[in-house]
């Protein structure tokens, strides 16, 4: 993490340097002030007052300038550093592989990018400004005290262990409690969030009172722990005060003895000594606080490093070389060669096993299977979202590992089940698929995706703004826009990863029909793309060129609908359960 700060080392040095200037002025200014009072005011010497006053104001101005400059440099260093870290983390997040984002959830990534970066920034700022200041105050104070009297210095140093022990006792006890506070606060939020999200159920079962009780319990827990923390911390300041006050009394007592013994001790010295004692003891408390914030920031640094240190699992291959070897293969061919796959998080559980298969250009290839049979994993291997555990996947005859990722993902276009739209216009959301798409191409893609009608029916047509995460659209509408976005991309392989789950059957049928239609207006030959369709409903896949039935990671059967109806028991099972053929007969089938 520190390497990001290194770039700005000059500011990191300059900030404390100017801090010295400020501290020096702070130390000198009270002296002038006291002489204004003692020599000027008490003697009614207006001229002296003005003279000293102007000098003091100049000093204060100079000190203020130093302080401001220190702030400027500390700011420059901290913000630039934070900016670099933030950018590095974000760019790293975008380069993580799917398996890595599975492990660190997206929610956690978002908090790391905002909260943790802020924490680290705060720590750097605090260190640059306060730590140096407190340290100077501490050392300077001890030195000044020593110059006045060795006894005074020793007395203060003697009191330090008590201060430190106290400070660390409180911080040590409080720090774990802060974590509990956070947890209880999360609990309160959680109950609340469940209540809001499940409002329909709460109301339907008339459970408002029950929810209120549940919330009160969480609320009481939070209040309890909060009170405990605050009670603990309430003792901290009085404790420090007791020590400070005892030292003051002892110091006066020692001073009295000294004066009684006829030692050389000026009245101003005694008063200055009292000031320095307060300064020293306070700076210790400050250092302790800084220490605490550093501990907290260390946790953030660790969380950021976890992201930054993620190895680049999936990188570019030597595409040109691979292309030269292979020569030209018909565009849109996919071949799986003895492929096995297990998710990195559970390497022992094979999700796909021994898959051997070729999908031909222009083919409509459907995949059917129960949840957990490996359908999504199968298609995720083609654009190399995950790497195979064993075997090889070839696209257009070239191993996907030899592609530059950019090139591979130009060719393979995936439409996900969860349509992720962005807060911009519908037109821009579709154009997001390909920046140079013309309006005509966008309309065409939307028409094929069965989205054109409802888009044109909305108030601003294609310029309707999609609100954050698309709340203004229904699930089926979002899916259709995201299909249009994929179509406009004009890849050669199109994967529907259960991307039509929210469409009603009629719309879905129309979509597939449009995709098969030869030669569309814009010359986009959607029909010539290789299409892989994952679906739950037989009706969606029935007319595919081939249907693959997956069961527990293995290919159970591949064939056309009619072939599978003859040979595959599981397929028949599914068919029957969906169409209730056994009950009503296939009367309507023709």
């Amino acid at each position: 993490m520190l390497k990001y700060l290194k770039k700005y080392w000059y500011w990191c040095v300059l900030a404390p340097v100017f801090m010295f200037g400020e501290i020096a002025m702070d130390l000198i200014q009270p002296k002038i002030m006291s002489s204004i009072v003692n020599d000027g005011v008490l003697n009614s010497d207006v001229e002296l007052i003005l003279d000293l006053g102007i000098r003091m104001i100049l000093l204060v101005l100079f000190g203020g300038l130093c302080g401001t400059l220190c702030g400027v440099f500390a700011n420059l260093a901290t913000r630039r550093f934070g900016n670099d870290v933030r950018k590095a983390v974000f760019s790293k997040i975008m380069n993580l592989s799917f398996s890595q984002t599975d492990r660190i959830s997206t929610g956690s990534l978002i908090t790391r990018l905002s909260n943790d970066v802020n924490q680290v920034e705060m720590m750097v700022m605090l260190t640059l400004r306060m730590a140096v200041r407190s340290l100077c105050m501490f050392i300077g104070g001890i030195y000044m005290l020593y110059r006045i009297s060795t006894h005074f210095a020793l007395l203060t140093i003697g009191a330090l262990p008590f201060v430190m022990v106290g400070v660390f006792f409180f911080l040590k006890k409080a720090t774990p409690m802060f974590a509990v506070v956070q947890k209880k606060l999360d609990q309160v939020n959680h109950v609340m969030q469940e209540d809001v999200a499940g409002a329909r159920v709460v109301k339907a079962y008339v459970r408002e009172e029950y929810e209120l009780n549940r919330f009160d319990k969480a609320n009481d827990d939070l209040v309890d722990i909060n009170l405990r923390v605050q009670t603990l911390l309430a003792f901290m300041m009085p404790y420090m005060n007791i020590i400070l006050n005892l030292v003051v009394i002892l110091l006066l007592y020692i001073g009295a003895i000294k004066v009684e013994d006829g030692a050389e001790l000026q009245i101003g010295d005694l008063m200055a000594a009292l000031t320095y004692v307060a300064m020293i003891l306070h700076s210790v408390t400050f250092v302790a606080n800084i220490f605490q914030s550093i501990t907290r920031a260390r946790a953030s640094v660790a969380r950021l490093n976890e992201v930054l240190d993620c190895p680049d699992l999936i990188g570019d291959g030597d595409f040109e070389a691979a292309k030269a070897v292979v020569g030209d293969v018909a565009r849109g061919t996919i071949r799986f060669e003895k492929v096995s796959f297990a998710y990195p998080s559970s390497p022992d559980r094979k999700v796909l096993e021994d898959i051997d298969l070729e999908i031909h250009p222009g083919e409509t290839f459907a995949i059917l299977g129960t949840t957990g049979s490996g359908k999504s994993s199968f298609v995720n291997l083609i654009p190399r979202f995950y790497d195979v555990t064993e075997g090889n996947v070839y696209v257009d005859g070239i191993n996907v590992k030899d592609y530059e990722l950019h090139e591979l993902r130009e060719r393979v276009v995936t439409v996900m089940q969860k349509a992720e739209l962005y807060s911009r216009s519908i037109r821009e959301n579709i154009r997001w698929g390909r920046e140079d798409a013309t309006d005509e191409e966008i309309y065409e893609a939307a028409r094929v995706a069965q989205a054109d009608d409802f888009i044109r029916a909305s108030k601003d047509g294609y310029d309707t703004h999609v609100t954050e995460s698309g709340h203004s659209l229904s699930g089926g509408q979002k899916q259709r826009i995201s299909i249009a976005r994929a179509l406009v991309r004009k890849g050669e392989i199109l994967i529907f990863d259960d991307a039509t789950s929210a469409l009603d059957l009629k719309t879905e049928a129309a979509l597939h029909k449009a995709l098969r239609a030869q030669g569309s207006v814009m010359g986009t030959e959607y029909s010539q793309m290789t299409k892989i369709i994952i679906a739950q409903r037989i009706a969606s896949v029935r007319n595919a060129d081939r249907i693959m039935v997956l069961d527990r990671g293995k290919i159970l059967a591949i064939g056309t609908h009619d072939e599978l109806m003859e040979s595959c028991d599981l397929y028949q099972d599914i068919y029957r359960s969906q169409l209730k053929e056994d009950k009503k007969g296939v009367t309507a089938n023709e």
Partner: protein, 613 residues
């Protein structure tokens, strides 16, 4: 205390004050943007209601503050006395003085502790009450409100705003009390010493206030700009990280990173500008207060020269003038915090002022036949966009009626109306001949059960989730409900069976299992009327079969309304209602509708004949 005795204590006192007043590095309280509440008076009045019940605590707190303030004032002057006695060689009274100091310090410390403890208690009690009230309100808000407002926004009122109020109460009340007391005390003493100098002091304080106001106006603008940029950056990164998979799949990484970097750079430069401004605030204030000090000293010297006042008076006066400006600065800082907290309180009260869900209707619902009629219902969520147009439907007791139609045809709206989540614009829904808005709302819902498309489970045990619909149910009844709804086999496979805790509302269950649990919940409530928003799109066929069987069990002998997404479920319905754009277009049994050859037949064909429509 004689005046000459006071003089030596001055420089020390001044430095002590300075140390406490400005711990270096610029005023932290100014770092964040200050928001202003719109109607300050009203907000304060309503906040006071919360304090009213805490009178004892408040009085005790006030006593603590008074004692602390007085002892804090007494401490330094006793210190001065001690020093004087040392240098006047009056060692005889020194031990007594030191002991008195010790006593004062002890009192000071004890009451300071009391002050902290009491204000912690006070703030926590008030915040608990406030959170309770807020939740109770949210609990009773209408679905219409919750549907149109983001949960995140409501949540942030609960956490950020209430937390802000809590912190401000615990931190500010003590300081405000003692600040105001010190100001009143010192002003009185200052006037007593010399009114001319007091006016001059007021003048310098006035300058400070004016400068603060002008500066903070400039600063507020910069900080506001910063928080806008910050918000943009957060929004962008949240959207992009959530949508990360699409970005990777569409080769958009570079673009997205570039956008992010631009925003991040903008934030960086705005922050630097804002904080440099904020950081210069401290030194500027410092300069002004020192200039003020010089002015007072100069005038003091001048007055003394002309024998208007004695020297002792000036020195004492300066001491108090210094003491006077400290709480003013403090309160100025607190003012910002308090304003932000009040703006938060205003948002909290905004929610509390929302109307409760409609609770009209007096007729108790005892025995339900289950005859439901929809008569000429018009309904729109947003004015102008009508969802239901003259919708009519009748469900006879014990009948199973299915609603069929394309997405957006208004099926789910029927559920919303029947449950009284929304009120129709015109027309009426009657159960057994009585308008549902004439029944007691909770009675209506007690007799109705819904199974929704979005499965809603709570962070509780499996048993707790099933019993959610019927707290009084026995364990046997619960197990029976689970058996009827095909839950038994997967529940027994859970590590702790029925006592398995559902983390994060069922993250450890599959979508199908969650749906089965919600069916078990509905079974246990033993409703007279059942509403099923059948949703099995993300569930594989085998699980779907189980769910359909469970639903069939549930519907036996009950009046049921099913929103059907797949026709296979509803072929045996007593009546199928086909909807299109908020109207009923066809009604009849499966066979009748097929014969008719209309919309239903078309839908049916598409499902059976696959893609060849």
């Amino acid at each position: 205390m004689s005046e000459p005795n006071k003089a030596p204590a001055q420089p020390q006192q001044q430095q002590m004050v300075r140390f406490g007043g400005r711990p270096g590095g610029g005023p932290r309280g100014m770092m964040r943007e200050v928001e202003k509440p719109k109607d300050m008076k009203n907000i304060l009045r309503r906040l006071l209601v919360y304090f009213r019940t805490e009178k004892t605590l408040l009085i005790m707190l006030f006593i603590c503050v008074v004692v602390v303030s007085l002892s804090t004032l007494a401490g330094p002057s006793m210190q001065g006395n001690a020093i004087d006695s040392i240098f006047n060689k009056e060692f005889g009274i020194l031990p007594a003085l030191l002991l008195a100091m010790l006593g004062i310090y002890a009192v000071n410390t004890a009451f300071m502790l009391g002050q902290s403890l009491l204000s912690a208690r006070l703030s926590q009690r008030i915040v608990r009450k406030m959170r309770h009230d807020l939740f109770e309100k949210i609990d009773h808000l209408s679905i219409a409100y919750l549907d149109t407002h983001s949960g995140g926004d409501i949540m942030s009122r609960m956490t950020n705003d209430v937390e802000n109020i809590s912190q401000t109460i615990s931190q500010s009340i003590g300081s405000l009390f003692s600040g105001v007391m010190t100001i009143i005390g010192t002003v009185a003493i200052m006037f007593w010493y010399c009114w001319q100098l007091t006016l001059i002091t007021f003048f310098t304080v006035l300058i400070t206030v004016v400068v603060t106001k002008v500066l903070s106006k400039v600063m507020r603008r910069t900080y506001k700009h910063r928080s806008i940029v910050q918000g943009k950056l957060n929004g962008h990164s949240e959207e992009m990280i959530t949508g990360y998979r699409s970005i990777v799949a569409y080769n958009k990484k570079e673009d997205v990173i570039r956008e992010f970097n631009d925003l991040s750079d903008e934030l960086c430069s705005v922050s630097i500008r804002a904080e440099i401004l904020g950081g210069s605030m401290g030194p500027i204030m410092n300069c002004i207060s020192n200039i003020g000090f010089v002015i007072v000293s100069a005038f003091g010297g001048f007055f003394a020269y002309h024998n208007l006042i004695t020297i002792g008076t000036i020195s004492a006066f300066i001491l108090y003038a210094k003491q006077f400006s400290r709480p003013i600065n403090e309160i100025a800082q607190l003012y910002g915090n308090v304003q932000t907290a009040l703006a938060g309180a205003e948002r909290v009260f905004e929610i509390m002022d929302l109307p409760d869900e409609n609770n009209e209707g007096e007729i108790p619902m005892t025995k339900v036949e289950g005859n439901i009629t929809f008569e000429h219902i018009d309904f729109s969520y947003v004015p102008g966009k009508q969802v239901l147009k003259d919708f009519n439907m009748e469900v006879r007791p014990g009948q199973k009626v299915a609603l069929v139609g394309a997405t957006g045809s208004g099926k789910t709206t029927i559920v919303n109306l029947l449950m009284r989540f929304y009120k129709p614009d015109s027309g009426s829904i009657k159960i057994d001949g009585v308008d549902i808005f004439d029944y007691k709302r909770d009675d209506l819902r007690d007799h109705t059960a819904i199974v929704l498309q979005d499965t809603v489970l709570f962070s509780d045990t499996i048993a707790g989730n099933i019993k959610y619909s019927n707290q009084e149910a026995s364990d046997e009844e619960m197990v029976e409900a689970a058996r009827i709804s095909n839950c038994e086999s997967f529940i027994s496979r859970q590590p702790e069976g029925y006592d398995t805790y559902l983390k994060l509302a069922g993250a450890n269950l599959s979508a199908g299992q969650k749906q089965l649990l919600t069916i078990a919940r509905a079974v246990l409530s033993d409703p007279s009327i059942l509403i099923l928003d059948e949703a099995t799109s993300s569930v594989d066929t085998r699980t779907e079969k189980k769910i359909q069987d469970a639903m069939a069990q549930l519907m036996k002998n009950r009046t049921s309304v099913i929103i059907a997404h797949r026709l296979s479920t509803i072929m045996d319905a007593d009546k199928i209602v086909v909807m299109d754009q908020g109207r009923v277009v066809e009604t009849g049994t499966h066979d009748e509708l097929l014969e008719l050859g209309g919309r239903y037949a078309e839908l049916y064909q598409s499902q059976f004949a696959g893609l060849e429509t």
